[in-house]
């Protein structure tokens, strides 16, 4: 939907500032009460969901005759983590901030107001089908020697979609290999697209390039269909969120169930197909990746408009799905951690629907280094405050940003992908 289609919603922000705080029912301390990394860094109301709705409204009503660098920063210096959306909707019937923010980005790109760093990503996508612009031919290098099936040649039960980050960041290759080993416990045939895999397109969409996104979504849908897979499994929360939310809300469907690796593993444990032999004496805390949690909630394509239901009473017709993040993936990773002998899970104050973002999403990692680092640092401090030895997550983007931030800020906290702990517990090396 175009920005102007959100006029009613944008004019119904109540400036309650809910979008800046976790739910007041859930606040456990003043220290960790803030929700939005963007305004927490910049402090101007403009950098909150409410501020962005007002900016969008001003643009839609023609109150602004220019686009400034500051406006661009307001629009794009946001991880699109969606926390504002779920908090706003506990209060406000008439606004969906994340949709407005998405429309703003698309609008800016359509107007040629593009963040230069994002163009590197887009050009890389166009050229090499990945966000890093790395040679496409190396996309499947991580799987060399693993004997995984190539979906271009044979049908599979499960398509493992690796995603750009894990494919080209070789620090994650070991995790991928562990995941493959774990997945083989299922007895299902697992295949990959290898060098033919392309980006899910989610990052392009969140950077405002809807057309680019559609190209990749179409390609992905085609690959899945051709593979015959009943499940698409990914270790990347960003890809998961894209498949779950963005694809359906933009009219794209995958002819397979989308499964995050944590859900896959949790299912294996439930089925008794995965047993843990080793005890791992480790106190951990778990970081909910935004795109696995609240933004992993299945999206629905809505076509309609706000209509007058009664005097002074307006509403979306047909009814619009209410996105509160409730149906994201939160339990599977926790179930896994609870199942690993010796692991002691302590929750941070901001969890699940109201988890604090890692700082890597929405094009921030690529263009707004300070925000990416400070956002991650805040999360690391929150993790440390639990007293845990390790921060466990389930997304390579989160993990990458946490590791890099920890490198620069220092600290004794260990960072794990949940797959690593599972692999250790099952006796892997």
């Amino acid at each position: 939907m175009a920005l102007s289609d959100y006029h009613y919603e944008m004019s119904h922000c109540h400036r309650c500032s809910y979008c800046k705080f976790i739910p007041f029912q859930l606040i456990k301390s003043k220290r960790f009460s803030y929700l939005c990394p963007s305004i927490t860094l910049r402090n101007f109301h403009s950098f909150s969901a409410g501020g962005r709705a007002a900016l969008g409204l001003a643009i839609a009503e023609g109150r602004l005759d220019q686009y400034t660098e500051m406006m661009k920063q307001i629009v794009f210096e946001c991880t699109m983590c969606g926390a504002c959306q779920v908090q706003c909707r506990t209060f406000n019937f008439n606004l969906n901030p994340i949709e407005v923010m998405q429309a703003l980005r698309t609008h800016f790109v359509e107007q040629g107001e593009i963040v230069p760093e994002h163009m590197f990503v887009i050009e890389g996508l166009k050229r090499e089908d990945n966000v890093f612009g790395e040679p496409k031919k190396h996309r499947g290098d991580w799987a060399e020697g693993l004997g995984l099936k190539d979906i271009s040649r044979e049908k599979v039960d499960v398509l493992l979609h690796v995603g750009c980050r894990m494919s080209f960041d070789d620090e994650f290759w070991s995790v991928l290999k562990m995941a493959v080993e774990i997945m083989q416990c299922s007895g299902l045939s697992v295949g990959i697209a290898g060098s033919e895999e392309s980006c899910c397109g989610g990052r392009a969409l969140e950077m405002g390039f809807e057309g680019v996104f559609n190209t990749f979504a179409e390609a992905m849908a085609g690959r899945v269909k051709a593979s015959g897979a009943k499940q698409v499994v990914t270790l990347c929360a960003d890809c998961y969120g894209t498949f779950q939310e963005h694809y359906p809300s933009h009219g794209w469907g995958l002819d397979a169930e989308v499964v995050h690796i944590t859900q896959f593993i949790s299912h294996l444990i439930d089925q008794g197909k995965l047993k843990f032999k080793n005890k791992i004496p480790l106190s951990v805390t778990y970081h909910d990746p935004c795109h696995l949690g609240r933004r992993g909630e299945p999206g629905v394509q809505w076509k309609g408009e706000y209509k007058r239901l009664a005097p002074h009473l307006f509403g979306p017709v047909p009814e619009k799905p209410i996105r509160l993040g409730r149906n994201g993936c939160y339990d599977a990773p926790r179930d896994i951690l609870q199942a690993i002998p010796g692991v002691e899970l302590t929750e941070m104050e901001r969890t699940r629907e109201y988890s604090w973002c890692c700082g890597a999403g929405g094009g921030v990692l690529e263009a707004f280094e300070e925000m990416a680092e400070k956002t991650a640092h805040e999360r690391l401090l929150e993790a440390e405050a639990t007293g845990a030895q390790a921060l466990v997550t389930a997304c390579p983007w989160c993990e990458r940003n946490f590791r890099d931030t920890l490198d620069s800020s220092g600290g004794s906290l260990k960072i794990y992908d949940i797959v690593e702990l599972v692999h250790q517990a099952m006796g892997g090396e």
Binding site: H14, R15, F24, A58, M70, I322, R326
Partner: protein, 518 residues
């Protein structure tokens, strides 16, 4: 207007360039507010010349002095919720106080030192860990406690125990529009602290506000101490999933909905309940308001309204009462006397659980954290006008006279489609200080998208009615009263001008009062 380059440069030097913006996009985001009276004035307010983010009292002072030097005006606001102090002058430097968000609970004295951007909800969480409870305004936990204590109004359901927020400040640190820092009460006594706000000698708290404050027009309150009240039992916590979550049990907590068919008996009960001193929360509202809290969309709300089930349960509005006891004995007495009085006055007690889990959560979360009051006030249309007679006085005056006068005003507006038909009686009321006085105001919803919306008119109509019927002194905080009793507003304007010799404060109220003859 554009801020002069020299002024901007001075602000940047004083506050850091990252904390100063005159970018048109930033300016727009500080010009918008859909809330009070939006249907008449629109949701766009005056564009400030510049927005700044001071981080300390000293920075506030520097910014105020710069405004004085450059003939700019200034105004500060906190979280921005509801009566957000947006600019009303175009040469206004708007101060967003977000960077000043500190709060410190002082033990064992039992007060909190709070900066502008610390919210009531955050304060409560920290206070409860130590056995205290702050006052919470009805606006909700997202409201700044400093703002309502110094500059706005400050009523809430906990007022039966915690009074309204004019009554809660202890020591105060205040950057006057002149640029001087005024510290009230114990603060300037060496080694004393923040425990008292009156004196030495006369209390200059009296030039800060009355029943209502000057909405940002008296300078910037940078830190104040607010007294805390007891909280018995464990800190209140919720868990579970949005939107309603699930409250953990309060072992000696008790929440009930109560309604009466007869207004006189209702008043009798309120007096008697107040006199027992058992209540920690009291709030009257309507079936329509409860539906607004329970619904999750306009359609949902509309369906509830069509079914009309809650209107059948609460045809005459309802009260939520809550207390949290310290001992089983106290709990038993509280329940016994509560039930005795309600029975004796013909009231009906409803356990919110009988209306379903969300209804219970709405009741308990409102009672403890004022969580859903704002939703009831602003949903489903997005705008709410507090309709006068907006009264603070006795239970009898508020409940027997003001409430029905407002309904009569509303009926006229509803008939003309100027406001939403919420069932007419949507009166919000709460007891203060064990029933020594009561506050009532009336929600009137409207949506700017409705072509005939005219919420501002109902305010003027309501104030006219208040004057005509002699109801409630609080009305005089609005222009309609000033013409009649100008002796009050004349002194108010004189005080404001005395602390603001260069007219630097963007003082909407005093400017309007002066225009209207004060």
């Amino acid at each position: 207007m554009t801020i002069p380059i020299e002024a901007k440069k001075a602000l940047e030097e004083a506050l850091g360039s990252e904390n100063v913006s005159d970018d048109p996009g930033v300016i727009e985001t500080y010009s918008y507010m859909n809330g009070l009276g939006s249907g008449a004035t629109g949701y766009w307010w005056a564009r400030p010349a510049c927005v700044v983010l001071p981080g300390s009292t000293e920075e506030v002072q520097k910014a105020v002095i710069i405004c004085n030097q450059h003939k700019l005006r200034f105004k500060a606001h906190s979280t921005g919720w509801i009566c957000c102090a947006l600019a009303t002058s175009k040469n206004c430097v708007l101060m967003d106080m977000r960077r000043m968000d500190g709060l410190e609970i002082v033990e064992p004295d039992g007060y909190v030192i709070t900066e502008p951007y610390a919210t009531a909800g955050e304060t409560q969480v920290e206070a409860m860990k130590r056995g205290y409870n702050p006052h919470l305004v009805g606006a909700g936990p997202n409201a700044s406690n400093l703002a309502s204590a110094t500059s706005m109004q400050g009523t809430g359901g906990t007022s039966v125990r915690t009074s309204m927020n004019e009554r809660n400040p202890l020591a105060i640190e205040w950057v006057l529009p002149s640029g001087e820092i005024l510290r009230l009460g114990s603060l300037e006594t060496p080694n004393a602290g923040w425990f008292c706000g009156d004196g030495p000698g006369p209390s200059l708290r009296g030039m800060m506000r009355g029943a209502a404050g000057n909405i940002g027009g008296n300078g910037v309150f940078t830190r104040i101490a607010l007294k805390l009240y007891p909280w018995y039992g464990p800190p209140y916590e919720c868990e579970g999933r949005p939107p309603f979550f699930k409250s953990k049990a309060l072992p000696l907590g008790y929440v009930r909905y109560v309604s009466w068919k007869d207004r006189d008996l209702e008043c009798d009960a309120l007096y008697r309940l107040g006199e027992t001193e058992i209540l920690d929360y009291s709030n009257r509202w309507s079936a329509s308001a409860l539906m607004s809290s329970l619904a999750i969309s306009n359609q949902d709300y509309r369906e509830m309204k069509k079914k009309g089930e809650l209107h059948k349960v609460f045809p005459n509005g309802y009260w939520t009462f809550f207390f949290n006891a310290n001992s089983q004995r106290q709990y038993d007495y509280n329940v016994k006397v509560f039930e005795h009085i309600i029975k004796d006055t013909g009231g009906t007690i409803i356990d919110p659980r009988d209306l379903g889990d969300p209804a219970y959560e709405v009741a308990i979360q409102n009672a403890v954290r004022a969580q859903w009051i704002g939703k009831s006030a602003y949903m489903p249309t997005g705008s709410n006008t507090g309709v006068p007679p907006l009264t603070y006085e006795t239970i009898d005056q508020c409940m027997k006279f003001s409430l029905d006068e407002t309904i009569s005003v509303k009926k006229e507006w509803i008939a003309k489609n100027k406001i939403y038909n919420d069932g007419e009686d949507n009166a919000y009321a709460c007891l203060d200080e064990n029933g020594h006085f009561l506050h009532v105001e009336h929600a009137a919803h409207s949506d700017w998208a409705e072509p005939e919306a005219e919420p501002l008119g109902i305010i003027l109509k309501g104030y006219g009615r208040a004057l005509e019927k002699g109801l409630g002194p609080a009305y005089m905080s609005m222009p309609a009263g000033w013409a009649k009793r100008s002796e009050y507003s004349r002194y108010m304007v004189q005080i404001q001008r005395m602390i603001d010799p260069n007219r630097a404060a963007d003082s909407m109220l005093t400017n309007a009062a002066e225009t209207m003859g004060a």
